[in-house]
Amino acid sequence: MKQIEVKQLQVFYDKKRVLTDISFDVYSKDYIAIVGDNGSGKSTLLKALLGLVPSKGMINFNVKKNEIGYLAQKDNSLKQFPASVFEVVLSGCIGQFKFFYNKHDKEKALQALKKFKIEHLKNKNFSELSGGQMQRVLLAKTLCTTKKVLVLDEPTTGLDSKTIKDFYKIIDDLNKEGITILMVTHDIEASLLHANKILHINNTMHFFDTTDKYRECEKCSLVRDMYD
């Protein structure tokens, strides 16, 4: 089933054009890795998809907004926020038409904490965690929100290698359970291993097809760099 349809997407910041001519389709159970250089517009693409920045062109959603979980690229402004880890993770369960948490939500939040092996941090203060711990808490929060589509922007930033391994396993499992994954990453190797499709952008569409085709792609410098 086609879940997201993007046609001729353009994004401007003030007058500066950041994305041109982006078109691709996302089917349910896709696992798409979005790659490209710094400043190529990956984060902008996710924000435009989710309606966080204005864009031109067509974006069609076949899923409800409240079935989408989104984790932005790491920003340090959250560092000072007074909240307990559990308050943060539970806040992922809030929905469009939901005002209070029930037992089920609390259970879900606990499961998410367990998945990222941070249940011992449950009552800790969020602002006093290490960078990697914070990222795990935010991932757990995002997991609570996700019902059909998971959108992640460089989710492995700041995680240790063991946690990164666990992370890819968790995402693989979710994908097998039927969750669609859209992930911005600089880790080409892992993308080739885990994703079924690659979207390579450099302010415009550079490549969009299956992982296998990407391996053989001549113009895809990122792969060439890797084998150089």
């Binding site: 989710l50 989104y70 007074p82």
Partner: protein, 271 residues
């Protein structure tokens, strides 16, 4: 001290001022937690100057002060929120421009109409003598509305304050909640101005939240502590202002400053 307190409660206008003060302090503290965490703290300051400007004009033109001010201040609150969303103008500089311009407009309107009279002075630094029964009713209604909003929308407010983008991405109507906070802040400031004065009212928004955050690190505790501290500071402030015959607004701010320093020190000791 007990005698002073008993004496204070024998004046109806003081009792009225105490009730209004507690309600306004509570409202400002609740909104303040959200505003400070969203880095909107200065909006309170901008809005209070704007309401000074509009109230001066209302006085000069013999219009009903609140009826004239409230809509304008609400509109400005919306505009400030929009500025935050667009990247071109920085919010803090925009607010500085707005504050000083409003103040200038207020001062000009005042002097054209015959200079500083007692009413204008009251709007600048507050006066518990100027409080009317209408103020009492409005602040009670406002307090009920704000407390209800915080109870019903507590989890949404947390989610949006913590991470507006991901809330919006998941379909939450963040614009509605921001607008709600902006309107309530505007109302709170206009209503609290008779009591605290336009130069001082924004401290009721900023201080309690910052004070609570010195010691407490979870959202719930910060919300409760800020509310409590704000009300306690008001009581201390009005008591001091009664005993030493100094303006209430100023002594409330000083009580808040004292609590902030105390909490800050405690926070350091505990760490």
């Amino acid at each position: 001290m007990i005698n002073h307190i008993i004496e204070m409660f024998s004046y109806t206008f003081l009792v009225k001022a105490i009730i209004i003060g507690i309600l306004v302090s509570l409202c400002c503290a609740l909104l303040g937690v959200v505003l400070v965490l969203k880095r909107y703290a200065m909006i309170g300051d901008g809005l209070s100057h704007v309401s000074f400007g509009t109230l001066s004009i209302a006085l000069a033109l013999n219009l009903m002060p609140l009826v004239f001010s409230i809509p304008i201040v609400i509109v400005v609150a919306f505009l400030l929120l929009r500025i935050k969303e667009s990247s071109k103008i920085k919010t803090d500089s925009a607010i500085a421009l707005l504050s000083t311009s409003s103040l200038a407009i207020g001062v000009c309107a005042t002097s054209l109409k015959g200079g500083f009279n007692i009413d204008v002075c009251n709007y600048m630094f507050g006066s518990i003598l100027a409080l009317s029964k209408t103020d009492l009713v409005i602040s009670a209604v406002l307090a009920i509305v704000i407390i209800s909003v915080f109870i019903i929308f507590y989890n949404k407010i947390f989610a949006i304050t913590f991470d507006e983008d991901s809330s919006k991405a998941s379909g939450m109507n963040t614009y509605f909640y921001n607008a709600l906070i902006a309107i309530l802040t505007a109302l709170c400031i206009v209503v609290g101005m008779n009591l605290m004065g336009s130069m001082l009212i924004s401290s009721l928004i900023i201080f309690p939240a910052l004070t609570a955050m010195q010691l407490f690190k979870t959202f719930k505790k910060v919300v409760f502590t800020a509310s409590l501290v704000s009300m306690v500071c008001f009581l201390i402030g009005i008591y001091i202002s009664y005993v030493y015959a100094i303006p209430t607004g100023a002594s409330v701010v000083l009580a808040n400053l004292f609590f902030f320093l105390f909490f800050h020190m405690m926070g350091r000791v505990i760490k």
